[in-house]
């Protein structure tokens, strides 16, 4: 589904992602895990064609980027870090607009919008202006937008940010459900979340891949994901120093 090899992305002279290689197979729920600034959002922006890579090869659904960007974008649904919402539109208008952008046929747009809204629990707020929604609802509108047109690959950047505990559980259930019919990539710095939904985990540290594999592989030998994460991302060293003093 996704093949990334030797991916590098520079912002000026600073490298946000350095020589990164990984693959994600069909039907996996893959978690990108890393501390703030590890390059999670940059990777997602590259996979969705928003940013171009500075070096390396990226193939999404069999289409190399950026050469076949349009074909690749057609099979990806994306929730960016900040949900890309237009506050002056109602939820229904917005979802129909997003469906049109994704190339859903005119006759199917309304149905598609309603289906995505039902899956994310938005039926009751369909006629309301996005301006007046709470942060949790806005996040859900962003997720609904990513589901439109049933893309093969769904990329969610911190999907549970700003949700209350009940909504977090609801969204995790939705992600697990999506994982049955779609490939899902999500990023998070919440370890329990990744543990709860992901089958595959990629741990990033300062733009490099620190570890990758299935959850069982990574936590083999009785180590918890938390210990591994702290060790790989440098947090463990600081904790160790703290213990010594």
């Amino acid at each position: 589904m996704i093949e990334v090899s030797h991916l590098t992305r520079l912002y000026g002279a600073r490298a946000a992602v350095k020589d990164l290689s990984f693959t994600v197979e069909d039907g996996q729920i893959c978690g990108l895990l890393g501390p703030n600034g590890a390059g999670k959002s940059t990777i997602m922006n590259i996979l969705t064609g928003y940013l171009a890579p500075s070096g390396g090869m990226v193939t999404v659904c069999g289409h190399p980027l950026p050469e076949e960007a349009e074909a690749a974008k057609a099979c990806v649904g994306y929730l960016p870090e900040t949900p890309p919402l237009y506050p002056e539109m109602t939820v229904e208008e917005y979802l129909r607009f997003a469906a049109a952008l994704k190339g859903v046929r005119r006759a199917r747009r309304a149905g598609e919008a309603v289906r995505a809204a039902r899956r994310t629990g938005l039926e009751d707020v369909m006629p309301r202006l996005i301006r007046n929604l709470s942060k949790g609802y806005r996040q859900r509108v962003g997720i609904a937008q990513a589901l439109l047109g049933s893309p093969q690959l769904i990329i969610l950047d911190e999907p549970t940010a700003g949700l209350d505990p009940a909504q977090v559980i609801e969204v995790r259930r939705l992600i697990r459900e999506l994982g049955r019919s779609h490939t899902v990539i999500l990023s998070s710095h919440i370890l329990s979340e990744v543990q709860a939904v992901c089958t595959q985990v990629l741990i990033l540290s300062q733009g490099r891949l620190a570890a990758g594999g299935s959850l069982e592989e990574l936590t083999a030998g009785g180590r918890s994901l938390e210990e591994l994460f702290l060790e790989l991302t440098g947090g463990g060293r600081q904790a160790g120093e703290g213990d010594a003093t």
């Binding site: 064609g49 974008k73 994306y78 960016p80 952008l101």
Partner: protein, 290 residues
């Protein structure tokens, strides 16, 4: 493209901005229409109303276009547009046509005023010339909108976009007067064209991501320019003048106002619009690479 066009148009009129801008421009031309055409009984709408109110476009167009791309970037909604299977030119054109449609509204009001003059008994000739002027005015506005859309794509801040757009339009507005200040000899013209060649070479180098190509482009252009300077210095100064003339965005409109349907002027506005839309699309593409 259609979806973006419809959304932009609706969003212009769900807020205050579209209504306010339309009222502003209609009030300006309405005032001149009342004072000159109705008050003094003059049938020339092109000169006494449209030409006299072109300065209002200096404010109208930058405000109309300021949020087109800068607003999207600021609100991060460009991430939706650019990650959907919509080509970049579709985004640029959808927004552009929506702004042209908003600008068509006050122009329709102007058309109503022209028809009112007809009802009051102006000649067929005057009617035709008035409509030709209105067409020129609309084309001028559309070219200015393309310029300001490009400016809006350069920044994330709407206010900066509006001020830059205003500055660019003001420069174009004043250019006929400013031209006399730049009476360049061939040496100054050579300097300017060398700078332009350097800019073109840098762009080519960045686009192709090859230092070699950039240097080669600059070398070729520099050789050409030097040859022209040595053997055909007159051509350089002529080209310099032509360049300055091309920057006078508001000048070709005067030909319409003088009662001539000027095809070169119409082509000038259409190509200026196309050029700036091309720049806009290139600017969006470039930002994703750097």
């Amino acid at each position: 493209m259609t979806a973006i066009f419809v959304r932009e148009l609706r969003s212009a009129f769900t807020g205050m901005m579209g209504w306010l801008l339309t009222a502003f421009l209609t009030a300006a031309s309405g005032l001149y229409f009342m004072a000159n055409n109705l008050g003094l009984g003059l049938t020339d709408f092109g000169y006494y109303t449209l030409y006299q109110t072109t300065f209002v476009l200096l404010l109208y167009v930058p405000v109309l276009a300021m949020r087109s791309l800068a607003g999207e970037r600021h609100a991060r909604t460009d991430q939706l547009l650019l990650t959907c299977p919509v080509p970049v030119w579709g985004i640029v054109l959808g927004k552009y046509f929506a702004m042209c449609a908003v600008f068509a509204l006050p122009c329709l009001a102007d058309a109503g005023m022209i028809l009112a003059l007809r009802a009051l008994g102006c000649t067929d000739m005057a009617l035709a010339s008035n409509f030709a002027s209105l067409l020129g005015y609309y084309l001028l506005g559309c070219a200015a909108i393309a310029l300001c859309e490009w400016v809006s794509g350069l920044t994330e801040n709407q206010i900066v976009a509006a001020v830059l757009g205003f500055a660019a339009l003001l420069l174009a507005f004043l250019m006929p007067g400013l031209r006399s200040l730049f009476n360049a000899g061939s040496a100054a013209a050579l300097l300017l064209f060398t700078l332009l060649a350097a800019a073109a070479a840098v762009l080519a180098g960045l686009r192709s991501r090859s230092l070699m190509l950039g240097c080669a482009v600059f070398a070729a252009l520099a050789v050409g320019l030097s040859a022209l300077f040595l053997w055909r210095g007159g051509w350089l100064t002529a080209a310099f003048d032509a360049l300055l003339e091309a920057l006078c965005l508001f000048a070709p409109f005067e030909r319409f106002v003088n009662g001539i349907f000027s095809l070169p002027a119409a082509l000038y506005y259409l190509s200026a619009a196309a050029l700036f839309l091309f720049f806009t699309a290139q600017g969006i593409e470039k930002r994703r690479w750097l």
